[in-house]
């Protein structure tokens, strides 16, 4: 079997297991939509200025929740899922079979990518129907897809990277949340960050990949200026994550 066919073969089982795990499927799919409804209900009645344009706040949340959905599907799911598989000995078992490691990991990444696409499509449709959000088309769509693919892959890589500091499965969810939740807030995913925000918040948003990724998603939905530099920052984080994962990823429980 070629590597591509092996990856497809493996992905079928990743997919089966994903949909049969009620917790992972529910949180991955229901959370972003739930947050979208809650945030727009609470905060979505006004208008905000993004990139020099005034837009309806509900539209803003469609873009931000699409970004949030992708981050959950990639970073959180990979980090927590791989830690569980590592601790329960699944990874060690796979490591004793002829399946190339890269194929096994690639199947996870591709699956997360497909789930991300599906999530974004659902969020966009939901936003379009209920909040009259724009649907990206033409060049905007292509740029949007570039950011989506680069972002998903980068957050997958970071998910693999963070497993290297997670000591055991019990610690997986707390560590993942502790690393991502503050960033989601500081990057304006949950609450828009205005121009008069403290400098350290702006600074933090600019250093880490979440804001750049969310901005890229926004550009797709809102037709703002698309920053290729943002794609580069996200990609750079992905490369760093990959390097850490390649160097320190463990196939055996860390005891």
């Amino acid at each position: 079997m070629t590597a591509v066919r092996m990856t497809m073969f493996q992905m079928r089982y990743v997919n089966k297991a994903f949909w049969r795990n009620p917790a992972s499927a529910f949180f991955t799919f229901a959370f972003p939509l739930m947050f979208l409804v809650i945030f727009t209900a609470l905060l979505g009645h006004g208008e905000i200025q993004v990139g020099g344009r005034v837009i309806h706040q509900s539209t803003y949340y469609v873009a931000e929740m699409a970004a949030f959905a992708v981050i959950t599907a990639c970073y959180n799911n990979i980090a927590i899922g791989m830690t569980f598989q590592r601790d329960s000995g699944v990874l060690k078992r796979v490591n004793g079979t002829p399946l190339p490691s890269a194929v096994y990991l690639m199947a996870r990444v591709l699956h997360a990518l497909l789930v991300s696409l599906l999530l974004v499509a659902i969020t966009v449709a939901f936003g379009h129907i209920f909040y009259s959000a724009d649907v990206p088309t033409g060049m905007t769509l292509w740029r949007f897809l570039v950011m989506l693919v680069v972002g998903s892959t980068a957050f997958c890589a970071l998910g693999f990277a963070i497993t290297t500091v997670i000591p055991n499965a019990d610690a997986a969810a707390p560590i993942v949340n502790a690393t991502i939740l503050p960033l989601l807030f500081l990057s304006g995913v949950f609450i828009p960050i205005g121009d008069n925000a403290p400098a350290w918040i702006t600074w933090t948003g600019n250093v880490f990949p979440v804001k750049h990724f969310a901005d890229g998603m926004q550009a797709g939905f809102l037709g703002n200026a698309f920053a290729w530099s943002g794609v580069l920052v996200v990609a750079a984080w992905g490369v760093v994550g990959l390097a850490i994962a390649l160097r320190f990823f463990s196939w055996e429980p860390r005891r």
């Binding site: 079997m1 092996m6 073969f9 493996q10 089982y13 089966k16 297991a17 049969r20 795990n21 598989q85 329960s88 000995g89 699944v90 060690k92 078992r93 490591n95 004793g96 079979t97 002829p98 399946l99 055996e252 429980p253």
Partner: protein, 318 residues
């Protein structure tokens, strides 16, 4: 057994050494497992069995020594070795949300010449659970699934690391049946266990491991020179009565006498003749042979010393 000498041994390890920090987990192990053989590595927890196995499986690299598994070096030729071996780890998991059949199908897909999935399921006795999700299986059934997955690629050699630890007696006997059917298929099996009876029931040959070394090796019946181990004659004497002279090494406590004779028949004859002549009753007269358990315990040295190591105590006969 069609163990062709030209094909070489399934496993050949020489002077293996592996340390973790200050702890020498494996301290110079030599091991030879022939093709088609069921070989048991027997020893208490912490004896170095798992480390030895994991070196052979390619998970660990030995600090010193040479290893050949199916003629290959497990650390430098691991990818060539992987398709030919099956591994049941001591603690291992499967995706809980897949069914038995799906799990085996998935692992079969990794191998160049897999064994048909339903044949594997039948072999480990999980046919009734074919479409059950892994999460619903009992511990014994999950272990059988582990074996099924290890068999999926139709390997020549199977490593089973403590296949029955934590099982109830009936689950253990079921697992033994599975191992016997593997050897009936002509597979080479190398298993570890800390159960004496497991080694005795399953293995063609046994090596006893303790403190990172192999302290004895042989068939279950000859292990540790068991044939050569001498029997003990045991009886009670009334207070004040000394046993006859010429019985050889004897030990006395509380009226009970243990004699370990060089020649059992001759000594027994001498003893009973003396009892008949003098009219002394030999209460509770019996002849004891060391069980395999005694041999094992004396070898690993974590229990009372066996009869052959007994220091001469008080009341030794002249």
């Amino acid at each position: 057994m069609v163990a062709t000498t030209s094909a070489g041994s399934a496993v050949l390890a020489e002077r293996l050494v592996k340390s973790y920090g200050d702890l020498q987990a494996v301290a110079g192990v030599d091991l030879r497992v022939e093709r088609g053989e069921v070989f048991a590595l027997l020893g208490p927890n912490g004896a170095g069995k798992t480390t030895t196995l994991e070196i052979l499986e390619g998970y660990r690299r030995a600090d010193q020594g040479s290893v050949r598994v199916l003629g290959l070096d497990p650390s430098s030729q691991r990818s060539a070795l992987k398709p030919r071996i099956g591994i049941v780890l001591q603690a291992t998991g499967v995706d809980n949300y897949l069914t038995v059949a799906e799990s085996i199908e998935m692992y079969s897909g990794y191998y160049p010449h897999p064994r048909p999935v339903d044949e594997v399921i039948e072999l480990v006795g999980l046919a009734a659970k074919r479409n059950a999700r892994v999460v619903t299986l009992s511990g014994g059934q999950q272990r059988r699934l582990d074996v099924a997955i290890a068999l999926a690629g139709d390997p020549e050699l199977l490593f089973l690391d403590e296949p029955t630890t934590g099982f109830d007696p009936s689950a253990r006997h079921e697992a033994w049946e599975v191992v016997r059917s593997l050897s009936a298929l002509g597979k080479t099996v190398l298993l570890t266990t800390h159960y004496m009876d497991e080694a005795q029931n399953l293995a063609d040959r046994v090596a006893v491991m303790a403190g990172g070394r192999i302290v004895a090796e042989g068939t279950p019946s000859t292990l540790g020179g068991r044939e050569a181990l001498r029997a003990t004659i045991r009886f009670r004497l009334p207070a004040g009565v000394a046993p006859p002279e010429g019985l050889g090494e004897a030990r006395r406590s509380d009226g009970q006498v243990d004699v370990v004779p060089d020649d059992l028949v001759e000594t027994l004859h001498r003893l009973t003749a003396w009892a008949l002549e003098t009219g002394v009753p030999l209460e509770g007269l019996e002849v004891q042979r060391p069980t395999l358990e005694d041999v094992y315990l004396s070898l690993v040295g974590d229990a009372e010393p066996g009869p052959e190591h007994t220091a001469p105590g008080d009341g030794s006969a002249t």
